[in-house]
Symmetry: C2
């Protein structure tokens, strides 16, 4: 890719990644299929919202692609401190998977590109994992995998985006991280950090291509393990935190809803079944209590048990 | 009450109302009891969070009293455009009941008083009803009851606070009201509308005293009706909208969490079990589809079927 970004090429790659990921997840699940909802935006562009429900592993999941464009709405312009009416493009892939098995974690990935032709552009996104039950060996494996993905792009990449992830996915009212973190980045354009568009694009693609390997591994580690009703209930309770984060703090959710995004595509991130219990605190010494102890910024690569 | 508000008297009345309401609800339920969680605030004051769970009718409910005071935290001062450090008092009662029976509505009431001695004070609050299944005859009865409560205080009271309620409990991203509305008011102090503190206080008390009669009637209308699994599922799905409203829009929730309120007392408003399904739209002609049609501002007192 040359110095001017090719929006069609970027969008086409995100769409091909959606296809690859949905096919891969269907194979992993073995029971349910993604249903595709193709939608159009009156002012320009549209998307393909793919949702899977009641699978063998995937209790509910969405893998969304969109490419919207047109004159920039005032609300978006104000938020981004740009000029209303300028032509903009936004394209990306966004996915959240809520597994039925309480030992398999929730996973989220988002890769996006924003462009105002001849003016500015940037990439953003990330990948992060939210287990109900935290297995330190899974967390270490996942973080090592993502550190390896980041390594070719510079020693600073993993630590910086790992810390940004811990900061972003944080529930202030609980003093808890949403899960065990991962990577989070935004406003990537050539400059001090990445020197070229080609480098950024290679990094974004590397993160996207990591998804299926990462989640296949996390699924295969736990899918055959038996689980109890009590573990399932703990999972439903932990999902409450996911809802609290997404509706109280997630900028993508509030920005999307506030700027007239497609409600059902945005809120597909919410879990299928959720429980709230007043003042529930897992009993000391249990696996549940131990899992809650890991909901903070942890240097997993330096972690020793 | 004379022209200077007596904070101790107001707080004591809210606390006695909490006692009356929790006793009344326990009698109605017949199975479960409220558990009281008495908490203190480091900077001054505290509260009594009373929660009931797994009742015969009351699947989850909270009736909270609090009276907090001390130097005004900067965050609260900024939000209210007041002076940080001035002594403030805030006292109130706040309740939400999530019934297990899908034909019995959720009910919410909040009455509160804010005071900066020798400077300013105001009352706020309201009562509103959120059915999964909307019965127009229930909605009419409830609105007539509240109109009768309002009538002694002026012809303007019911229409103004009824409209404010429809405006406040509105999910913009769904273009739906949260439920069938009720009353909503804020910043009540003697002025053009109410002429005296005594009048405002009598109005606030009248709303508070209405609660048990209103909810007893709504419960008794439906508690003996049989219901299906499908109706229960519709209720769990409708509860998703309650969560969306409270976490995305409710100012009390965001203000409370942001200013260091007690998280579990604030989030006791969230339902016990909730479902989200992608793009669920009730089939045309069903009771579920009809109920969704009522989620807008309706003049229930002038409504004819």
């Amino acid at each position: 890719m040359q110095s001017a970004p090719d929006i069609e090429k970027i969008a086409a790659w995100f769409q091909s990644l959606q296809q690859e990921i949905t096919q891969g997840l269907e194979l992993l699940d073995g029971k349910a299929s993604f249903q595709s909802d193709i939608w159009q935006r009156a002012e320009g562009g549209g998307g393909d919202t793919r949702v899977i429900e009641s699978g063998d592993i995937l209790e509910k999941g969405g893998v969304n692609f969109s490419h919207v464009y047109g004159p920039m709405p005032e609300k978006i312009a104000n938020r981004l401190q740009l000029t209303p009416g300028d032509t903009f493009h936004a394209t990306g892939i966004s996915l959240v998977i809520h597994p039925s098995h309480p030992l398999i974690p929730v996973i989220h990935m988002n890769l996006r590109f924003f462009l105002i032709p001849d003016t500015t552009y940037w990439f953003g996104g990330g990948i992060d994992v939210t287990p109900a039950y935290v297995f330190p060996e899974d967390a270490q494996w996942f973080h090592q995998y993502m550190a390896d993905v980041c390594a070719p792009f510079g020693d600073w990449v993993y630590p910086e985006y790992k810390q940004a992830c811990d900061r972003y996915f944080y529930l202030k009212h609980r003093d808890e991280t949403r899960g065990i973190g991962g990577l989070f980045f935004d406003f990537l354009k050539p400059g001090e950090r990445f020197q070229s568009l080609a480098e950024i694009w290679a990094f974004v693609q590397a993160v996207g291509k990591a998804f299926l390997s990462v989640y296949s591994e996390l699924i295969s580690r736990h899918r055959s393990a038996p689980f109890s009703e009590a573990q399932k209930e703990f999972q439903l309770w932990r999902r409450g935190r996911y809802v609290e984060f997404n509706l109280l703090y997630d900028k993508g959710t509030s920005f999307g809803l506030d700027t007239g995004g497609r409600t059902e595509s945005i809120l597909m991130s919410l879990p299928p079944v959720v429980e709230w219990k007043y003042n529930f605190i897992p009993e000391a010494g249990t696996a549940e209590a131990e899992s809650m102890q890991y909901l903070k910024a942890i240097d997993w690569l330096g972690y020793t048990q």
